[in-house]
């Protein structure tokens, strides 16, 4: 059997459609690019119906790897596990439900020429005005925070080259921010408009919990992208301004007590100002703690990503990243 050129990772989490139909559709899409492909299904927690269906497919001779975790660890973990079992030079992630038209797969893969990561953007998009507004606000805030403008991070269809996988560390809910994190590692990320599948029922009801999670995610990404290496800049500025504001009010109160003879005891402003000072102090201390953590781990924290080392005549043996070797292998 030939080495696969394209590996497709499909995380099966909470939401999934009939895998047999899904597999057949994706297969036709991928087959348009190359016949050397493999599929990796990662079952996030036991899904016995899916497992059975997949085993039937394997019995038919399909090139499928099945991985099952004992409990649901989340999509990011499922992807990471899947990435460890791929061998293709190009790796795709596809959702376990109909989200994009399978024929768009070839466009995603072809767009890798000139980019390291290509993410799908379902367009034109079905759904009501409220949905579209919600999406716009989410991506608007994200764009403002990260200076990266993506339109559809919820789209699970992505294509990427092998070196990207080696450097991505996903956990929690970070699978959605894969393009943001890849960009941060210095990879070229492109968004590509793809047709939405007619079966992508996107009228999912969003609970308040989903909203809260969405905003927490943004907050997390904000820190990851902007302040991972300089916590004191963020906490320090915030803390210092709180401290300063509280301090000024305190000063004003003391001046009034001393010269205008206005008693401190019955002034609620005293409490408020003290709170601000104390809060500022704590924030600053948090920043220092963050700085200490960064410093003690500075050897693992790199500010840069090396594309390649050019050295003639001997191939260089001092390569800390695997990207070169992998790129060569991919060719």
């Amino acid at each position: 059997m030939r080495e696969p050129e394209i590996s497709v990772v499909i995380p099966v989490c909470e939401r999934y459609d009939d895998v047999t139909a899904l597999y057949l559709e994706y297969q036709t899409g991928v087959a348009r690019v190359t016949t050397a492909y493999e599929f990796v299904f990662v079952l996030d927690g036991p899904h016995s119906d899916v497992l059975q269906a997949l085993h039937r497919l394997v019995a038919r001779g399909e090139r499928i790897t099945i991985i099952e975790t004992t409990r649901a660890f989340g999509e990011a973990t499922a992807l990471t596990i899947g990435f460890e079992h791929v061998s293709g030079g190009t790796v795709m992630t596809l959702p376990a439900y109909f989200q994009i038209e399978a024929l768009e797969i070839q466009r995603l893969v072809r767009a890798l020429d000139g980019a390291d990561v290509v993410v799908g953007h379902r367009w034109p998009r079905a759904g009501g005005w409220f949905e579209s507004l919600r999406r716009r606000i989410f991506h608007g805030i994200l764009g403002w925070v990260t200076h990266l403008h993506f339109h559809d991070l919820g789209c699970g269809a992505r294509a990427m080259t092998r070196p990207v996988l080696a450097e991505l560390q996903l956990y929690g809910d970070q699978h959605r921010f894969l393009p943001v994190l890849a960009d941060r590692r210095g990879f070229r990320v492109r968004e590509l408009d793809v047709r939405q599948s007619s079966r992508d029922a996107c009228n999912r009801a969003y609970t308040p919990k989903d909203y809260a999670r969405g905003f927490l995610d943004i907050f997390t990404v904000f820190f990851l992208v902007r302040f991972t290496k300089k916590p004191l800049r963020f906490f320090g500025m915030l803390g210092a301004s709180m401290f300063g504001a509280g301090g000024l009010v305190l000063l004003y109160l003391v001046v009034q007590r001393l010269w205008n003879d206005q008693s401190l005891a019955d002034r609620p402003a005293l409490l408020l100002a003290s709170l601000a000072v104390v809060f500022g102090l704590q924030l600053f201390a948090l920043g220092l703690l963050g700085e200490l953590i960064i410093f003690t781990h500075a050897r693992d924290v790199k500010d840069y990503a090396v594309d390649r080392v050019i050295h003639y005549p001997a191939p260089d043996e001092l390569r800390p990243t695997h990207s070169d070797a992998d790129q060569l292998a991919a060719r």
Partner: protein, 322 residues
């Protein structure tokens, strides 16, 4: 076969310097070759978008002493220097700008200084060829400030022409726009630092890329470095210093609010009692934070001890000469 490590690594970051790279290469070779030291040139291409990488690759092809580290994108001067220091193999590391403003003819003096026992040699552009108001005066203020805060008085932190003993410099963590402060940052290892007057030329090709960054960033970075270099090994002390005023204030306020009803017969003043409790508890939380910081430092992989090892000298009685 890997070549034996060279004695000297000349590290030059480039960002869109297609005009300078060729002449600079020629100047470095002309300056260092007569000295008879084995050397390598490490060109860090900081994501240039012009022909810099192409020219650098050509040089590497012609001259095996040239190695080029290519970044995926533009990251800035600190990462470029840090990458250069990481990838360099020489026993002495020499960094310089890629814009021909430093003169490679000065390299000899730097090597002499390193050979005479200094760990870091810093260039000082005595006759600086730059705009007075936009660059010279802000940098003079910054240098004064850096010297005051860090206790490493260097007249010209911004000069890129510097030489380092590799054993010392490779262990110093460099991150977050600290290229102005490399000697200050290195002071955690207590290196022997020397200053050298260097020649400085006006720019011949291209424009200046690294302007003076915003002042608040410099101030905060300075604070970070101060914290890092002086208090890293005893974080609890630092936190205790923060906590002490809060604790004193809290105790005074709480005490007053407790005593007032007894002495003056008035009801306990609520605001003052509240403020007192706030400050006292804040101090306690800060102290706990300090304990946490001790824990972090303890499990981290950088210790003060290691830094002291980098520069120490040992004289041992009776051991004899070996």
């Amino acid at each position: 076969m890997p070549t034996p490590p060279p004695e000297l690594s000349v590290i030059v970051p480039f960002f869109n310097e297609e005009g300078s790279i060729g002449p600079l290469y020629a100047a470095i070779v002309a300056a260092v070759e007569p000295l008879g030291v084995a050397f390598e040139m490490l060109f860090v291409d900081d994501g240039s978008t012009d022909r810099t990488l192409e020219l650098a690759t050509q040089l590497a092809r012609q001259d095996p002493r040239v190695r080029v580290v290519r970044f995926r994108r533009n990251y800035g001067q600190t990462p470029a220097m840090a990458a250069g220091i990481e990838y360099a193999r020489g026993a002495t590391l020499l960094t310089m700008d890629g814009d021909l403003q430093n003169d490679p003819a000065d390299i000899r003096l730097f090597l002499d200084k390193i050979a005479s026992g200094y760990d870091i040699v810093v260039g000082w552009r005595e006759k600086r060829q730059d705009h007075l108001l936009r660059r010279k005066i802000p940098s003079r203020i910054a240098n004064w400030l850096i010297g005051k805060v860090t206790g490493v008085p260097i007249r010209d932190n911004g000069c890129s022409l510097k030489a380092y003993r590799a054993t010392v410099m490779k262990s110093i963590p460099l991150y977050s726009e600290m290229h102005r402060f490399i000697p200050a940052m290195a002071s955690i290892a207590g290196p022997r630092i020397a200053e050298l007057k260097v020649r400085h030329h006006a720019r011949q090709f291209g424009k200046s890329k690294y302007g003076l960054s915003r002042i608040y960033k410099v101030l905060l970075d300075l604070m970070v470095i101060k914290t890092v270099t002086t208090f890293m090994a005893r974080p609890l002390l630092w936190f205790a210093l923060l906590a002490l005023p809060a604790l004193l204030l809290g105790l005074v306020l709480t005490g007053y609010s407790l005593l007032a009803p007894l002495l003056q017969g008035v009801p306990p003043p609520l605001s003052i009692a509240g403020a007192g409790v706030l400050f006292t508890s804040s101090a306690l939380i800060l102290l706990s934070g300090g304990a946490l910081a001790e824990l972090v430092y303890n499990v981290g992989d950088i210790r003060d001890k290691q830094f002291s090892r980098l520069t120490l000298r040992v004289w041992k009685q009776g051991a004899g000469d070996r």
